[in-house]
């Protein structure tokens, strides 16, 4: 089995496995964040649970970080290997004749998402790590805020139109990445289900609903702060 993951197909399978995990993560992330619009109290409760539960913090979070890092690093490695396999470029190449733009440019949508994740970590993850692990404050409270601090912090982040613009742009690229990635992951795992009309429609719906949901949340808080 170790030899399998050194092969080109093994690397594809590894990319697909990390993609499935990340797609599931996005779904639960949206499910929790959408609560910030409809029920700030519930959003605070769930956020506090996710932020303080030891299973989430010390088991799932490291797995998530590993999956994110692995997906990006392997993506870059495969891109470099593929560039090397190409040789001389064509003088004229009509890629649009046989494939979609987003399927051919996963690396660019991926780089945009990576840039977004850096911004997202600066906005949310690093402050959380600082509060909990450096300052040792696991209370979820903030001076001047009734109840838990999470909803207030979220709203505050979306005051800046530049940040909201950056988030919206990143989510559009996330949608393009998912539009190909969802069905591609099934194909890499050896499944033909990704080529069935129903699965393709689910993939399209997923790649629209996930980014549209996050865009809605960002815009909602921007216009209601």
């Amino acid at each position: 089995m170790p030899g399998f993951f050194k092969s080109s197909i093994g690397r594809k399978v590894a990319m697909a496995l990390s993609a499935f995990f990340l797609m599931f993560f996005l779904l639960q992330h949206l499910a929790i964040n959408i609560l910030s619009v409809f029920s700030p109290e519930t959003f605070n409760e769930v956020s506090h649970f996710m932020g303080t539960n030891p299973v989430v913090q010390f088991a799932l979070q490291p797995v998530l970080i590993f999956a994110v890092v692995f997906h990006f690093v392997m993506g870059f490695i495969l891109e470099l290997k593929n560039s090397k396999a190409n040789g001389v470029s064509y003088a004229k190449n009509n890629g649009a004749a046989n494939s979609t733009w987003f399927s051919r440019n996963m690396i660019y949508s991926g780089i945009t998402i990576l840039a977004f994740i850096v911004l997202h970590f600066i906005d949310f993850w690093f402050p959380e790590i600082n509060t909990k692990f450096i300052q040792g404050d696991w209370s979820g409270m903030l001076d001047g805020v009734d109840g838990f601090r999470y909803h207030e912090e979220l709203k505050h982040k979306f005051v800046s139109p530049i940040r909201v613009g950056a988030y919206v742009l990143a989510f559009v690229f996330l949608g393009l990445h998912l539009a190909h990635g969802f069905t591609s992951a099934f194909q890499s795992m050896g499944g033909t289900v990704g080529r069935k009309k129903a699965a393709q429609n689910i993939g399209k719906a997923y790649s629209i609903i996930i980014p549209a949901g996050f865009i809605f949340i960002a815009l909602y808080h921007h216009f209601n702060h």
């Binding site: 089995m1 197909i9 090397k84 040789g87 190449n93 494939s99 996963m106």
Partner: protein
């Protein structure tokens, strides 16, 4: 029709190539693309110039030799055809046509439009066969029951002519449609089961060794394949390798 041709000229594998413009006149729309190339070469020979080297053999879409990248597409703008089956009626009078060799690091240019596709042969040698005793006591293949669907899918996979259009059109120069077809044509049949695990392992290892890229499932290869080889064959190869590796 009168045409301008932009053709990749390269003296040999070590030379630096370049695009060169040519004019051809009075081309019939009923000509095949290779016949148009013949007209150009006659013109060049008569003018004392070196004709354009290009691969061709059967000229009926079976041998997989003609390997041109025409106007940015493997085998040109038509679907389900090789270059020899591409007709000039697909173009218009006054068109400029760009003609290049199939590009991939694993398909080095030998001369002009001729590329070395022996990497495919080496992949086939590594496992694209079944071992059958042909001493005279060979079992009649028709005596082995095979489900109609499996037989049809195996036959579809076996129609791959190894032309290399999948590699040429893939943004990653991946050979997985070719290897997937060659693995599938045996994986679907009882005769292929004995060597199934070694076959897929060896063929994928040789494919990687030859320097082909990784498939990213854009589906371009399936669209450009002159024989309509399905992406399902790549999925089957992936399953076969997983099964063989566990």
């Amino acid at each position: 029709m009168n045409l301008t041709l932009k053709i990749w000229r390269q003296k040999d594998s070590n030379a630096k190539g370049q695009m060169v413009d040519y004019k051809v006149t009075e081309i019939s729309e009923h000509m095949s693309f290779l016949e148009m190339m013949d007209v150009l070469n006659e013109q060049l020979v008569n003018a004392g110039e070196e004709p354009v080297a290009f691969d061709h053999d059967c000229r009926e879409g079976i041998c997989g030799m003609c390997s041109m990248y025409i106007n940015g597409e493997a085998h040109g703008p038509d679907r389900g055809v090789t270059t020899c089956q591409l007709h000039m009626r697909m173009f218009k009078d006054g068109d400029t046509i760009t003609i290049e060799p199939f590009r991939a690091a694993a398909f080095p240019v030998i001369k002009d439009l001729v590329v070395d596709r022996s990497a495919f042969d080496r992949i086939q040698h590594s496992g694209g066969y079944i071992s059958v005793n042909t001493s005279g006591n060979t079992q009649d293949a028709n005596a082995i029951p095979i489900a109609k669907q499996a037989a049809d899918q195996a036959m579809d996979a076996a129609t791959c002519i190894g032309c290399g259009a999948c590699v040429a059109t893939c943004k990653n120069s991946s050979a997985m449609l070719f290897v997937g077809a060659k693995v599938s044509q045996y994986a679907l049949l009882p005769q292929g089961q004995v060597e199934a695990a070694d076959r897929v392992k060896n063929m994928v290892a040789q494919m990687d060794l030859e320097g082909f890229g990784n498939c990213t499932n854009t589906g371009a290869c399936e669209v450009e394949c002159p024989k309509g080889i399905s992406l399902d064959n790549i999925a089957r190869m992936n399953r076969e390798l997983m099964k063989a590796s566990i």
